[in-house]
Symmetry: C2
Subunit: 300 residues, 2 copies
């Protein structure tokens, strides 16, 4: 069985850190990620540098990316971001639509309907330009401001996104780390009807220690439709506009779980292990990933 | 659906901490645990105080336990420990048999076969004295010294334990936190044949971020035979004789996962949340449980 892992530490990881990592250090991180065998890497976010100063060097990072073998992803929220993504020549764009109006306003200044309309314009232009597109439904498992998000709401948002412009991939995000496997199963069923035949991607945070169980559940649900899982080296990251949204699931811990469960990912965990301490040094705090501390088992 | 949670912070939690918590603080912790609705609490370990100084006050702790409503568990490794458990009038004894000879020697100075023979003597006497008994197969998911532990080895150890003396409960322990859900399912099938009809208990550590996925898998397997899950407030604990075996799964994080998944435990999470910071203060370091930092969801 194969599961695809999408590395998001350079983007979702670093954008939530107080420390601003400079461009050469970002590129060194990215080089190690690619060397480990990660083949899709969300490397930059084309958002307003005043809002997310950690991503202000997006163009410089994009210019330094090694072009071979990896599909490079840039996050965009509007057409201005798409213009930058096109100029930077990334391979894919990831467009975020937030499932709740309150969080959508805080995150990108518009309500959900306006976010979907933006996705429609971005998706059409990106496709025309030959970029792969992902639409991510954020806060699909719960909202830090509105609380529980009904499955019916996610169903509507997802259906409206797909109707607005068919993406190459749909992602469902537990932006604030509140979900459990039963929700993963329910949302997978929703995606199977509302985004039929479109590959599914999942984005989990481990804020309440449910992220790895959710990820394995999503992997176990992979059938005819491929499944991709987002993760972040060291487990760094979160969302600057969602309180207490710390901690993507850590790539190395996810890989341990997947490999021990019989999944093939094509990624070499040992190459990634030194990143935990390197990131701890760069960011000035211990990272939440645990495998680098505990070690592989059985020991290599 | 109901799952029973067995609280182990006063025993497995505190015995792995460098700081020695004094008896009144232990009893204050235990009082909060009982107030939250936990009905089985592993409160003490009747082991040699020279080997585990954190448990040297076992008799004093046992003497201070409120007798109503809770079934108090003491861990014992030999008949001397059983004598102390009987004198201290605990309700249950938990007897550890380590699945590998190397780890068994390090943990309790005898090989696995001698551990099973000790269980036979302890089990028979405990039952005669009217105590409930659990036999725990430790390192059932992997050994820090011998590496992978074959399912066949666990099958044999489990069968030999049950043949030696029928316990009221069988526990399977991932002592060093290396297991994944596929192993939980395989070992549950082993227990269903080798310990047929005997209630099953699971002991997970989150050392490599697989503990909560394992626990939910075990809960999902509960059918005709009841399932109990060990956890430790704040996620404190480990094993002093197993390298890098830090981190039981945290009771409050486990409860969040179980409750959001539709399980009833009878335990009030909010009552437990203040324990994380109290334990951090007592132990001099932040505890690994995350729910107390992130907060319940939806917010209460």
């Amino acid at each position: 069985m194969t599961v695809s892992v999408v590395e998001v530490s350079p983007r979702d990881g670093l954008q939530n850190e107080a420390a601003i990592v400079d461009t050469p250090d970002k590129l060194a991180l990215i080089t190690t990620l690619a060397a480990a065998g990660l083949r899709r890497i969300e490397a930059v976010s084309f958002v307003h540098p005043g809002r997310v100063p950690q991503m202000a060097d997006a163009e410089a990072v994009a210019a330094g990316l090694p072009r071979a073998r990896v599909s490079w992803i840039g996050l965009v929220l509007n057409e201005r971001g798409l213009d930058r993504a096109l100029a930077a020549a990334v391979d894919e764009v990831n467009v975020v639509v937030v499932a709740t109006d309150t969080f959508s306003h805080r995150n990108q200044g518009v309500d959900t309907a306006a976010g979907i309309a933006a996705w429609a314009r971005i998706g059409a232009r990106a496709r025309e330009a030959g970029l792969r597109t992902t639409v991510t439904v954020a806060a699909a498992f719960g909202c830090p401001f509105e609380g529980a998000v009904s499955p019916e709401r996610v169903r509507t948002v997802l259906a409206d996104c797909v109707a607005a412009a068919a993406p190459d991939e749909v992602a469902l995000a537990d932006t604030i780390g509140v979900g459990v496997p039963a929700q993963v199963r329910a949302l997978a069923a929703t995606a199977a009807t509302e985004a039929r035949g479109i590959p599914l991607r999942w984005h989990f945070h481990n804020t309440r220690n449910t992220g790895y169980a959710n990820a394995l559940t999503a992997a176990d649900l992979a059938g005819a439709t491929p499944v991709a899982l987002d993760s972040s080296a060291g487990g760094i990251g979160g969302c600057p506009f969602a309180p207490a949204a710390t901690g993507n699931i850590a790539t190395e811990d996810l890989l341990y779980l997947l490999h021990q469960s019989g999944y093939d990912t094509g990624v070499d965990v040992e190459t990634l292990l030194p990143l935990a301490s390197r990131l701890s040094t760069l960011l000035g705090h211990e990272v939440p990933g645990q495998l680098a501390r505990a070690g592989l088992f059985p020991p290599a």
